[in-house]
Symmetry: C2
Subunit: 302 residues, 2 copies
């Protein structure tokens, strides 16, 4: 329980740090808070900023759910976890900026712990961060991946390439043959190192998010754009919805296990368009996204 | 094969009839057609009307896919169908009107056939239609269900109640504890009657769709509305997206089995909003929808 308290303390501080940093880009709106309880154990603190100048919607959620019985969907593939005491805690965020030149960002760090009598306890860490540009700048993507690599640096030279590839594989829309964006890091079931080292990795990933994202926000948030750019942004946001509802394990697990719907679905963009059979004109800036960014690519020299 | 040709002829005529009837509500736009081929057998004819005065988007799709090997996702739960020759054909439509007083409508009729050497052949019919109002009128819903009941009349007194209930059960968003709309009919795996009778039922359901929907369109399409009604419509369309991507078997099967993505996802509305933790004011017309319409209810006296 001491470990869980330490992780919880870190996560709540991370949530605060991120919300404060994002608010510096807003003149008139702030994050609003909803504390919620899970009837069968635990709860969370959802923080959402809506209708900002810079951020059309940003959600930064903490949750810590626990109980003496794992939700059924979670044990379907892991029957050994049935009838375990469990704790699942994490911070998850999705930021939908207003300006189409600022990419959407997602980050998550989480910890899972389970035990039952006469069995060794089970735990793992998971998380990562990934970026979804509409009108990408190569500089932004390279720097984003540089920070992702920096976050992994102290943990071995193979960590960034492994979790970068996992991210490309995970955030992939099979029915579109597109990656969701330009990736970053994704990891799950992490317990190959001792607990302290894993916890340090969680902190390194969490702490690198703002370093990686905010310079891009700062650099692009005042770019001039018009209706064309806005429409493309709204169209591409449709892909974000498709990914989150069709493929994202966290979303499905959350909804199936009776998580708080509004906190889970804050990941969905505030305004979205679908257009039947649309594709960008060859050679246009919109086509550039598809051709050079929505396929896995090595962004930094290692 | 003769059966399949007869069904195909009916389906293509139904698609024509419905498209022509919908076009009567438009002054300047028409359905556009895309014929597509499935690399491993069959194809379809997708017809989409976009940016109409009455219909913001309407898709009426015919498809007939076949082959000598069932797509893997389809045989996961039915291993007896592995290595079968199969045919799957149907018409599927989703209509997103512009005016928030006109409900969204969905209809589908389909037929499945499979055989392999030394085994009896397998076939069934499926389909139905259901209505999703934003600002419902009781008269519209009652009449809609009356037509649904009429479609079933000649097939026995228990048919409407059974398929009405199946529709309520199927179009249900568990994570919202809401039905998608006010229902109608849903049936699947239908082969309890002889083939001819089942085919007649398909035709009865198909032919009743326009009768049930167009009077509502006619009655409400010129209702005055403002920004408030439009915003509520866009917000509620989010539920439509959530249902189709999280729960709809046809969507998931289609995408997983390599169907044509753009034809499958024409069901998604052209413009959609999500708003964190929004709920209607008690006593408002928007609250009326939740309180009296998004729960299963008996609409007609039988």
């Amino acid at each position: 329980m001491e470990d869980i308290e330490r992780i919880k303390t870190y996560l709540l501080r991370l949530q605060n740090t991120i919300c404060s940093a994002l608010e510096l880009h807003e003149t008139s709106v702030k994050f609003e808070e909803d504390a919620w309880q899970r009837p069968t154990g635990g709860g969370g603190l959802t923080r959402v900023l809506a209708d900002g100048d810079t951020f059309e919607q940003a959600g930064v959620n903490f949750s810590h759910v626990f109980g003496d019985k794992m939700p059924a969907p979670a044990t379907a593939l892991r029957p050994e976890l049935e009838n375990c005491n469990f704790h699942a805690l994490g911070v998850s965020l999705v930021i939908h900026p207003r300006n189409p030149y600022v990419p959407t960002a997602h980050a998550n760090v989480r910890y899972f712990f389970a035990e039952k009598q006469n069995h060794p306890s089970v735990w793992w860490f998971g998380g990562g961060f990934d970026l979804t540009p509409y009108y990408p700048f190569e500089q932004d993507v390279v720097e984003w991946h540089q920070y992702a690599s920096d976050a992994c640096q102290a943990f071995g030279p193979d960590v960034y390439p492994r979790y970068k590839k996992w991210c490309d594989d995970y955030f992939y829309l099979k029915h579109r043959d597109e990656t969701r964006g330009v990736g970053g890091l994704f990891y799950d079931d992490l317990n190959i190192w001792e607990f302290e080292r894993c916890f340090e990795f969680m902190q390194s990933v969490g702490n690198h998010f703002c370093k990686a994202y905010l310079p891009i926000v700062q650099r692009r948030k005042n770019n001039t754009y018009g209706q064309r750019q806005r429409e493309f942004q709204l169209y591409r946001r449709g892909r974000y919805v498709e990914f989150n509802l069709l493929y994202d394990r966290g979303t499905m697990f959350g909804l199936q296990s009776g998580g708080r719907t509004e906190s889970i679905l804050m990941s969905l963009p505030p305004v979205v368009n679908w257009r039947y059979h649309w594709s960008p004109e060859p050679g246009s800036p919109e086509a550039e996204l598809y051709e050079n960014y929505l396929k896995p690519r090595e962004w930094i020299n290692r």
